[in-house]
């Protein structure tokens, strides 16, 4: 730096810098103040519980007495000495593997039907979306009554076509299927998102394909599917995170039964934590679930380079 530069800098600094830095400092202070609740929240409600969960998973803890360090014993128990861990893991996995693809296929199919310039679009969309906003205990009760073997509406409708419906919720073979069927009721949630994605696909693409003589199936396979594949990817990941944490249906409708046929992972975790007060073991269960979700998400993301198509220009258009 030369002397001239220094003086020029000093002059410039005298004229502008203090004012600018004063403003910038004020902006920074306001920034911290406005973000403060969340920054504290991250510490208090995310970081610290996350660490606590990790620590507790390595202890024997029943809330009433101090946690006792036992190393990896909880994980050892989980893998070798808790058949219900494996049962709940498989129940939850089967539920996810069945319900997520069904929801995606059905949601996409309905969205394509809705995207054909039909009349009453808004009306249909409202009807289909409504069940997606309903959840919780009331919905579970509603479905217990729908699935009722002797007086339920489902078995009545099946009897009209000469099918004798099973004892949906009280049969070990059918209970999980019933809950998968029930999950399809909320298909409208995904549908609305696919519809938005489909509406963002430029019509020129279909016109060009039409001129080139591509049939409807080819247009779907070569245009629609690649164009909405990023949306499908997102729905797939969100679906995994959600389905693996399903709780209410199992707790309210079947209490995990019959014979643990609907023992969802979170139900198993809940019982260990809040019924048997095995807080340490339940924390280990929580961590195992976290790792499982992480693993599945990573596998899906890795696979996405093969089947997800990104088009910068057209993506911008879709906004």
């Amino acid at each position: 730096m030369t002397a001239a530069d220094t003086t020029a800098g000093q002059v410039a600094g005298k004229l502008h810098k203090p004012r600018l830095s004063h403003l910038a400092r004020r902006e920074e202070i306001v920034g911290y103040l406005m973000a403060a609740p969340w920054l504290l929240g991250i510490l208090w409600l995310y970081f610290s519980p996350f660490g606590t969960a990790l620590y507790l998973s390595l202890t024997d803890y029943d809330i009433l007495t101090a946690p006792k360090w036992i190393g990896f014993e909880n994980f050892d128990t989980m893998l070798t000495d808790d058949p219900l861990f494996w049962k709940s893991l498989s129940v939850t996995t089967i539920y996810s593997v069945a319900s997520i693809p069904l929801q995606i296929v059905l949601g996409l199919f309905l969205a394509i039907l809705l995207n054909t310039r039909i009349r009453g679009l808004a009306w249909f969309r409202t009807l289909y979306y409504l069940p997606a906003v309903l959840s919780g205990v009331a919905v579970s009760f509603l479905w217990i009554w729908v699935f009722s073997a002797d007086w339920g509406v489902l078995n009545f409708l099946l009897s009209l076509v000469n099918i004798e419906g099973p004892n949906w919720l009280t049969s070990e073979d059918w209970a999980l299927t019933a809950l998968i069927v029930m999950s399809l009721w909320g298909v409208g949630g995904g549908l609305v998102i696919y519809l938005a994605g489909l509406q963002g696909v430029p019509t020129e693409l279909y016109e060009a394909a039409d001129i080139d003589g591509a049939g409807r199936f080819r247009s779907f396979y070569n245009i629609t599917l690649p164009m909405v594949s990023p949306v499908i990817l997102f729905q797939l990941i969100m679906g995994i995170i959600r389905a693996l944490q399903v709780f209410t249906e199992g707790y309210v409708m079947t209490q995990g039964g019959p014979n643990n046929a609907t023992l969802f992972y979170i139900l198993h975790l809940y019982r260990n934590a809040f019924r048997f007060l095995h807080m340490g073991y339940a924390s280990a269960l929580a961590w195992a679930l976290f790792l499982y979700i992480l693993l599945l998400t990573l596998v899906v993301l890795r696979s996405s380079s093969v089947w997800v198509f990104y088009s910068g220009e057209i993506k911008g258009r879709a906004r």
Binding site: E27, G31, Y32, P49, L110, P131, L134, V192
Partner: protein, 294 residues
Amino acid sequence: MTTQTSALPPAARRRSMAPIVARHVEKAIIYFLLLAGAVIIMIPLWWMLSTSIKHPKEVFAFPPTFLPAQFMWNNYTDLFIKAPFHIYIFNTTYIVIMDLIGTVATASMVGYAFARLRWRGRDIFFVITLATMMLPATVLLIPRYIIFNEIGWTNSFKPLWVPAFFGYAFFIFLMRQFYATIPHELDAAARIDGASEFGVWWRILAPLTKPALAACGIFTFNATWNDVLGPLIYLTSESKSTLALGLMQFRGPHRTDWHYLMAASTLAMLPVVIIFFFAQKYFIQGITFTGLKG
């Protein structure tokens, strides 16, 4: 010119020659499928509604009746005699309102700080914010219970709404994205006119984000109103029960009064349905804006 004219006719010809009948049939099939789907989706709700106003004897009729022979509206008023439903409703409403205020206010403020203000560490904290969205809520369940238990908050509503005032990552993200779509000229002009940073947010920008705030509010309302696990863990006394917990007690261990149970379920769903019909614009904007299911 020549290529254009020679390229256009085949397509145009194909279109005009496409049999109109076939297209009508296709439209009819689409309408049929969509209507069938809508009916299937509505059957469970209709089933609940009709059962809720049936006479107990008609509930177990076979074949089932879709329209009750006799409309027993007093099933609904009976609920309040059979259980302290007004208390459940009051408790749930209290939690929902507190949650709503906390979530919306914090998301707006923190979203603004992330989108519009420069402060050291902002980008790192934003990445952390996104990371917390990926964290399954159930991993935090037990440690949070222990934290709230230690400060004596169990069997109180506080664990259910105080966290809202510290913000939820998803809504902060949503608001931050929304602020990012507003042109910077607006706040620049306000600043030149001497508005403070806080004033720019509160008076100029926050009012412009009403649609996004509405989406945040509606999602929060829904999630809190329907929440089962939270109240189940934290609330132990009858007088603190929410609708979700109250409903569960309504199902007898041996015999269930289905007409009451369906009336209670209808009642519990009603606010969600009403808000959905009035605000579905914001629902749909919200989920298409973020790509997240409601």
